[in-house]
């Protein structure tokens, strides 16, 4: 692609990716569907909950990801305290030989919202242990700044609670996070359909992580294809310079110099 429709690579945690769509694997109906989702999405990174998958087991989700050359981003889903999350990250590093981790420390089962205090504590500890930390956080710009300051390699604010499909509920906060961040911003959680993913990129996010919206869709590979295009569209639109919104109409064709046809 040339010039105006070029998609720049995504630089994330010392890696480069062509795709700005990261995939969450939770909720995938089966491994055959996952293969088709991987092909349709073009995703190069997939998160896997290390508490839910035995890395030694053969024929598992990890084998499918390896066959498709998709990089595994281990996450700490299911952790409620900083101590649990740090331990889980260390086990993941040992099992997978990776240096990065998507840090999740949730406050309760009902909302699965990040616990800000435990999250910051765990992020600080893991950064000190040499991890490249990608924290799943609320859409609070102040917390995002703290996470960046303790050394996180990216921030991953939510659009809405995990699995809710409610879209981006506070676009303004996401814009504030984007505006101040010097690390990549990855919109994580809340995406319901393709337009939500496009909006994330239009707001200036560097990438989007989508799980349930694809894995629990009626036709997961079709939704994966839609998300891939939405992310590309949002990225291009952000750089294309959108028109300012107006209250009243402005004709798209000139109203003077019309040909006299009669």
């Amino acid at each position: 692609m040339s010039g105006s429709d070029a998609l720049a690579p995504l630089a994330l945690a010392g890696r480069q990716f062509r795709s700005r769509l990261l995939l969450g694997t939770g909720g995938i109906p089966n491994l055959a569907v996952l293969e088709r989702v991987l092909e349709a999405s073009g995703a190069e990174v997939a998160t896997v909950a290390l508490r839910r998958v035995d890395p030694e087991a053969r024929g598992s989700i990890l084998d499918v990801l390896a066959r498709h050359r998709v990089e595994v981003l281990p996450n700490t889903a299911g952790c409620y305290t900083a101590a649990e999350a740090v331990l889980t990250a260390q086990l993941a590093r040992e099992a997978l030989g990776t240096d990065w981790v998507k840090l999740e420390v949730v406050a309760d089962d009902r909302t699965l919202l990040p616990d800000p205090l435990e999250l910051l504590e765990a992020a600080e500890q893991l950064c000190a242990l040499g991890f490249l930390v990608l924290p799943y956080t609320t859409d609070d710009p102040v917390l995002a700044r703290h996470l960046e300051q303790v050394g996180c390699a990216a921030v991953m604010p939510l659009g809405a609670p995990i699995g809710s499909g409610l879209g981006i509920r506070n676009p303004h906060n996401i814009e504030l996070i984007v505006e101040q961040a010097r690390v990549p911003v990855v919109l994580d959680a809340g995406i319901g359909t393709a337009s939500d993913a496009a909006l994330a990129l239009e707001l200036g996010c560097d990438a989007v992580l989508v799980a349930s919206a694809i894995t629990r869709a009626e036709d997961p590979p079709a939704m994966a294809a839609a998300m891939r295009r939405a992310v590309e569209a949002g990225y291009l639109a952000r750089r294309a310079g959108r028109i300012p919104p107006r209250t009243l109409a402005r004709a798209s064709s000139p109203r003077t110099g019309l040909a006299r046809l009669a």
Binding site: V53, D54, A57
Partner: protein
């Protein structure tokens, strides 16, 4: 001090191996037989029984029959409530398999003289929260589009059918055609029927398939003993791929999917157990309660990608009980009798691999009956019929057509299942 009677509250009971008869040493006439069945779960036992009923000499090879998934399974015959939009091809197989059940149950009851605990009251699907109710209505929509019998219930109707349901539930469906059976009674009946039909049991593991000139010659046991047979049925669950000597072009992508399951029991003088099989969504998590006439209630189950890990965990039991109590509060009063852990034999698309290897595959005479995942009990009769047909050269049941044994083996001409078949009348945009 007087000793109080104790019992181990949560240790699974042992399978009824006495019904299968004593294991035999493979000597003399045992060394040469018509069919060797490797694997003595209900799939292998049903196949062995079906073949022996047709006067084939059958030797069953398993160091510990019925010790695998069969013995912990809940026994739901529930293709409609199991339906998942992304796995629509499985529902056709499930419905066809269900049609095989009545005749199978009758024949097995006649052959064994034992009851199977088959119950046909239907299954009640329950949504705990408004979010779960939306998911249930989507499933109802899918049922309608596929022409499957499914009936929405008001909360009052649901609680008339099942008075033990919690008052605050968000909604319910009745699936009249989804039944259940007690797999442990089925296992007992199969063991007895197989023995009566002349199936002989060798307590050994199979270590290698032996082939010559492109055809099966028999099985080598872990003791080194050879069993000669022109037909070998592979029915060893998720361990099946570990057998040596399979054709190198045959890909058997089987993996264990761990399930934790509880067995509870009603106690006299306290609450009744449920009347129907109840399957619920609680904050998005599935849980089921399957009642038996004996008063047993099976509560399940987790689905974990933890390899062959046999450990029961506190968190899984907590979540199963928490969700079950949310749906049926009286579960609190039941006795906890067993904590079971089993491993479903899963393929990448969750469909089974059933049928004879095609000519030219290098193992003529090898029949696969593996990969039944969550549906081993439901698929048991149709699989047994398919194995009988394969050994006798008859056509297999049509519904098994897409689930052939070489589905994951491109070098054997296998074509993978279309993982997602477009459903009729797409969903209304939301």
């Amino acid at each position: 001090m007087p000793s109080s009677p104790t019992r181990s509250a949560v240790t699974p009971s042992a399978p009824p191996l006495d019904l299968l008869g004593p294991p035999l040493d493979p000597v003399g006439s045992l060394r040469r037989t018509d069919v060797v069945v490797l694997g003595g779960g209900i799939i292998g036992l049903a196949a062995a029984w079906s073949l022996a009923e047709q006067d084939h000499q059958v030797v069953l090879v398993d160091p510990a029959p019925l010790s695998g998934a069969s013995w912990v399974a809940a026994g739901m015959l529930a293709p409609v409530s199991e339906l998942h939009a992304a796995e629509a091809p499985l529902v056709g197989l499930g419905l066809a398999a269900l049609e095989h059940w009545p005749a199978f149950a009758q024949a097995l009851t006649e052959a064994s003289g034992l009851d199977l605990g088959l119950r046909t009251e239907g299954t009640v699907l329950v949504a705990a929260t408004p979010d779960d109710h939306r998911a249930l209505l989507e499933l109802l929509d899918l049922h309608r589009r596929l022409g499957l019998a499914s009936q929405p219930l008001t909360r009052r109707e649901a609680r008339q059918l099942e008075p033990g349901l919690a008052p605050g539930l968000a909604g319910a469906l009745l699936i009249p055609g989804d039944h259940h059976v007690d797999p442990r009674l089925v296992a007992r009946a199969l063991a007895l029927a197989a023995r009566r039909a002349g199936v002989r049991w060798v307590a050994a593991a199979g270590s290698a398939l032996r082939c010559r000139r492109g055809a099966v010659e028999g099985l080598v046991l872990d003791s080194g003993v050879h069993l000669d047979a022109p037909a070998v049925v592979l029915a060893a669950g998720w361990r099946s791929a570990a057998v040596d000597g399979l054709p190198p072009t045959l890909r058997l992508p089987l993996r264990p999917v761990k399930g934790q399951i509880l067995r509870l029991a009603t106690r006299t003088g306290t609450v009744e157990g449920p009347r129907h099989c109840i399957r619920a969504l609680v904050e998005g998590a599935p849980v089921y309660l399957v009642p038996r006439r004996s008063g047993e209630v099976v509560l399940g189950a987790t689905s974990e990608e933890q390899g062959a890990d046999p450990t029961p965990t506190a968190g899984a039991l907590y979540e199963l009980l928490r969700d079950a109590v949310a749906v049926v509060p009286g579960v609190r009063e039941l006795e906890l009798t067993e904590v079971g852990v089993g491993h479903r034999p899963a393929t990448p698309d969750h469909g089974p691999l059933v049928g004879p290897l095609p000519a030219g595959s290098g193992a003529d005479g090898l029949v696969l009956a593996v990969g039944h995942h969550r549906n081993g009990v439901l698929l048991c009769p149709i699989t047994a019929e398919a194995v009988r047909a394969a050994v006798e050269g008859d056509p297999l049941p049509d519904a098994l057509g897409p689930f052939g044994p070489t589905r994951f083996s491109p070098d054997l001409g296998g074509a993978t299942l279309e993982a997602w078949t477009p459903l009729p009348e797409g969903p209304a945009p939301r």
